[in-house]
């Protein structure tokens, strides 16, 4: 009797034991920093980043009064819009190009998926050279002499397009998988039914991709919000504050200005924005995707 009882007890503890390693990792690298960030956002800190003076929501109210913060929100919004639309369009087009077999398809699909494997900072380095006002290939090809990354008009677009290209690799992969899930014969039926290519795309391909499209959209938005490396290398937030994305602004506040409290508060706001967006999209998905 006694033995059985202890056995049951053992059984109950065992499953949790298995969870400990992963929880330990999560705890150290995810939960602790997360709560520490919230904690820091309520304090003024010293140069070492230690919380010194409790100020309540002061960090937040200061942010909401600062034009710079609104600027960085706006810039981030534009950036995210360009990146998400650009990278998804690029991924979709490339995936559709590689949906039918042709000689050399392996080369092309590798090429289209390659951005996935390129580190954002190294890509930024290459773009920096390509976009160079005097020796860059872009200006040579276009016959222009635009100072791409140092002109407020172009800097944001340049960084956004670079990011769109970087993110298109994984989208290519998602969309290729989505396209291969669509039954080939419905296209045959559609062409016998008299539908042209455009009609087939909008009435069959797009709806067929809807489930994966949603997932891709969520991932892309989150990814775009978190872009950092390319901004750091290419523009460093400038010229002025024209590419001062919120993540870069956090970095700058924390590690240049040593205002860890303000940086933490921005992180929390970024977290809330992404969370709300994701929840809204899930709500829309439940209504929109019908099969």
């Amino acid at each position: 009797m006694k033995k059985e009882k202890s056995n049951i007890k053992k059984m109950r503890i065992e499953p949790y034991m298995f969870l400990i390693p992963s929880f330990l990792v999560f705890g150290v690298f995810l939960f602790f920093p997360f709560f520490k960030t919230i904690y820091l956002s309520l304090y003024k800190t010293n140069k070492m980043g230690q919380a010194k003076l409790f100020v309540g929501l002061d960090n937040y109210t200061t942010l909401f009064k600062s034009a710079s913060f609104y600027n960085s929100l706006l810039v981030t919004l534009i950036f995210v819009a360009i990146v998400v639309i650009g990278s998804m369009a690029l991924g979709l087009v490339t995936a559709m190009l590689c949906n039918k077999t042709f000689p050399g398809i392996r080369f092309f699909s590798t090429a289209f998926a390659l951005p996935m494997a390129i580190a954002s900072s190294s890509a930024a380095m290459i773009f920096k050279i390509m976009l160079h006002p005097s020796v860059g290939i872009i200006n040579k090809l276009l016959g222009t002499s635009i100072n791409w990354v140092h002109d407020p008009k172009y800097a944001l677009v340049c960084v956004a397009l670079l990011t769109a290209w970087l993110n298109s690799g994984i989208n290519f992969l998602y969309f290729s998988a989505g396209l291969s899930n669509i039954d080939e014969t419905i296209y045959e039926r559609a062409s016998v039914d008299g539908a042209n290519g455009v009609q087939q795309f909008f009435r069959l391909t797009l709806p067929g991709l809807a489930p994966i499209m949603f997932y891709t959209l969520v991932v892309n938005i989150i990814q775009a919000f978190q872009s950092f490396g390319q901004v750091k290398i290419l523009t460093e937030g400038g010229p002025g504050e024209s590419t001062n994305l919120i993540v870069y602004s956090i970095y700058r506040d924390a590690f240049f200005n040593y205002r860890f409290g303000s940086a933490a508060a921005q992180s929390v706001i970024l977290f809330i924005i992404i969370m709300v967006l994701t929840l809204v999209m899930f709500r829309i998905e439940r209504k929109g995707v019908k099969y």
Partner: protein
């Protein structure tokens, strides 16, 4: 009016495989034409070439006197029912049926009127707002047909439309299809590997093998007058009985039996081992004329031409051992072995024959097909 002409159509793949070879055919208005043959015989490929889903390697396709080889499938004004139905999973039944009209930008009211009409015809009224995944196999099938007929196409192409249904539903849909054809009166080209479908639905049947047309004929002719061994074996169930035999006439027989002949002069026989079956009438004339004396042939006999008792027509007796018995309700199929051959006979349900019985069977020699052993051609084909 819709007429299709196929002239020497070939389909050859890059690896040199010929899927369809020299296919020539004229399809008249309002015909229910069947392509039948074993899988891989090129029947679906031919259909897909007509639909424009597959390129024609050589040969000509004419649709209503218009050269159609290079027309896109959109321009051919045909419609097609696919084996997998190919319903659009993201659309409702209504949109699935209406699709071909919607892409032609017809008025909403006109489309609605025709969809309702077709839905009534096929009994789909209550399902119009459902999606394909909520439908049963038979209902999906109907939706596919609905989409195909709503446009009132010149020619309706069907690629094994019943093969995904269970046996009972298949029988039911077969009847409905025949009725539909009568009511709509359009030309239908129908691909199947099922000879029952071919026999019951078609006004004309094209039997294919290895990409080559074997015979084009009405179902009855195909059954009674097959051109060769393949067609004879493919059409009809249970399969036609095939017996290898040698044609001998009186003198040779007498010689080989080393004794005095008990037969009248010039009598002709099919001989296999100790069995001999007398050849008479028209068959004998043909065999004499073509000089098949002493040659090996294959005799083909339909199971219904073998009886378990002698009758006016069934006079020639052979003895076999019953090895199987299938009661089909109104009749019994008896499988029996004779030498190393397995034959079948369609007998009345009153037969008491049991497995293991040795019994006599009687053959109606008038209905024999005789095939040349080498060319496999039916010598009786006329």
């Amino acid at each position: 009016m819709s007429e299709l002409v196929l002239k020497n159509i070939c389909k050859e793949y890059e690896n040199g495989f010929k899927a369809v070879d020299n296919f020539s055919l004229e399809i008249k208005d309002k015909e229910f034409l069947i392509f039948v043959g074993p899988s891989g015989c090129g029947k679906s490929t031919t259909l897909r070439m007509i639909a424009g889903l597959e390129e024609i390697t050589t040969g000509e396709l004419w649709i209503d006197n218009q050269f159609a080889n290079y027309l896109d499938s959109q321009e051919r004004e045909l419609s097609m029912v696919f084996q997998s139905y190919a319903l659009y999973p993201n659309m409702t039944v209504y949109d699935n049926i209406a699709f071909s009209l919607q892409v032609r930008k017809l008025g909403k009211q006109e489309i609605d009127k025709r969809v309702q009409e077709v839905a009534r015809l096929l009994g789909l009224e209550k399902l119009l707002q459902q999606r394909p995944k909520d439908l049963s196999g038979g209902q999906r099938q109907r939706v596919a047909i609905g989409n195909a007929i709503i446009r009132e196409p010149k020619v309706l192409l069907m690629d094994e439309p019943l093969s995904n249904l269970d046996a009972k539903l298949r029988g039911q849909m077969r009847v409905e299809l025949a009725e539909l054809h009568k009511r709509l009166g359009n030309t239908i080209i129908y691909v199947t590997h099922d000879q029952t479908e071919a026999m019951t639905l078609g006004t004309r049947i094209v039997v294919m093998k290895d990409g080559i047309i074997q015979q084009i004929d009405a179902p009855k002719n195909l059954y009674e007058n097959p051109i060769n061994l393949f067609v004879a074996g493919f059409i009809g169930f249970p399969m036609m009985n095939m017996i290898k035999a040698r044609i001998m006439i009186h003198e040779e027989m007498a010689y080989s039996q080393r004794g005095r002949s008990a037969y009248a002069e010039n009598e002709m026989f099919y001989v296999f081992e100790k069995n001999r079956i007398q050849v008479t009438g028209y068959v004998k004339e043909v065999l004499l004329e073509k000089d098949y004396r002493g040659q090996d042939v294959i005799i083909g006999i339909r199971p219904e031409h073998i009886s378990d008792r002698p009758t006016m027509n069934a006079t020639q007796r052979i003895t076999g051992e019953v090895i199987g018995r299938e009661l089909l309700g109104s009749e019994i199929i008896l499988y029996f072995s004779i030498l190393d051959m397995q034959l079948s006979a369609r007998v009345e349900a009153t037969s008491t024959a049991q497995v293991g019985d040795k019994m006599d069977f009687f053959l109606e020699t008038d209905h024999f097909c005789v095939f040349d052993e080498k060319t496999e051609e039916n010598l009786m084909y006329h």
